[in-house]
């Protein structure tokens, strides 16, 4: 399935709202701010009025080396895109981070692009199926 169209003027735009998959997701957060760069995360996505409710958390390492991240918030939908703020806790405290989210129809995964980090997650069920 296509996730974008390319018009006569060459502009590529999302083709339509993708099949939205509410449920549990697993993936990783890549933080641009420094090590550790890849933190495994577990998230729950649910449908909210006019948008998408996102809640995720993750951790890497143990003991004093442990690194925790969490993010939650509601992204507003317009057309095929989602954008908004996720209240994010990442190393240096909690702050709002602007993000936009894109669903990929091909595998039902979600890509969240933030100013300081990116998050890639796939459906937890699909992840379990791939493991089996």
């Amino acid at each position: 399935m296509t996730t974008h169209t390319q018009g006569r003027d060459g502009a590529r735009t999302p083709a339509r709202a993708p099949e939205l998959g509410a449920g549990e997701y697993v993936g990783r957060l890549d933080w641009a701010g420094g090590s550790p760069y890849n933190v495994p995360v577990h998230g729950v996505i649910s449908i909210a009025p006019r948008g998408l409710k996102v809640r995720l958390h993750g951790q890497k390492g143990k003991g004093i080396e442990q690194f925790r991240v969490s993010a939650h918030g509601t992204l507003r939908q317009s057309g095929a895109g989602y954008a908004g703020f996720l209240t994010t806790r990442i190393r240096y405290g909690t702050r709002p981070v602007a993000v936009f989210a894109t669903f990929r129809d091909e595998d039902g995964s979600i890509h969240i692009d933030g100013s300081d980090y990116t998050i890639d997650m796939t459906r937890a069920a699909a992840h379990m199926g791939a493991k089996a």
Binding site: H4, Q6, D9, A11, G79, G81, R95, A98, D113, S115
Partner: protein, 103 residues
């Protein structure tokens, strides 16, 4: 009578936005204030309007790209970094500078 308080927090920006797929560069200008950002621009057969909400130095919302075939909203985010404002979204990104502070 007191006059309306002057919007001292309004900052004007100018710059451009590049659409990667279309390899198109559209000059834009606009402003930020306490609540968000509004930027407009026009290219060949394409006009854009960006309306983003603000929390601190971060902004998020939707860019509306209009062509002869209609309008399409695209999710976008932006970050203010000194005199620079960086904006990114689905297959586009842009850089703007405070008017008067362009490199």
């Amino acid at each position: 009578m007191n006059a309306e308080p002057k919007a001292v927090d309004v900052v004007e920006y100018t710059g451009s936005i590049q659409f990667r797929g279309a390899k198109r560069n559209i000059p834009v200008r606009g402003y930020t204030d306490k609540t968000g950002m509004m930027i407009t621009g026009q290219g060949i057969a394409v006009s854009i309007k960006i309306d983003l909400a603000r929390q601190g130095d971060y902004l998020a919302g939707f860019l509306e790209i209009s062509t002869e075939r209609g309008a399409m909203p695209i999710a976008a985010i932006a970050k203010i970094d000194g005199n620079d404002l960086f904006i990114q979204g689905f297959e586009f990104d842009g850089h703007l500078s405070v008017v008067g502070a362009e490199a």
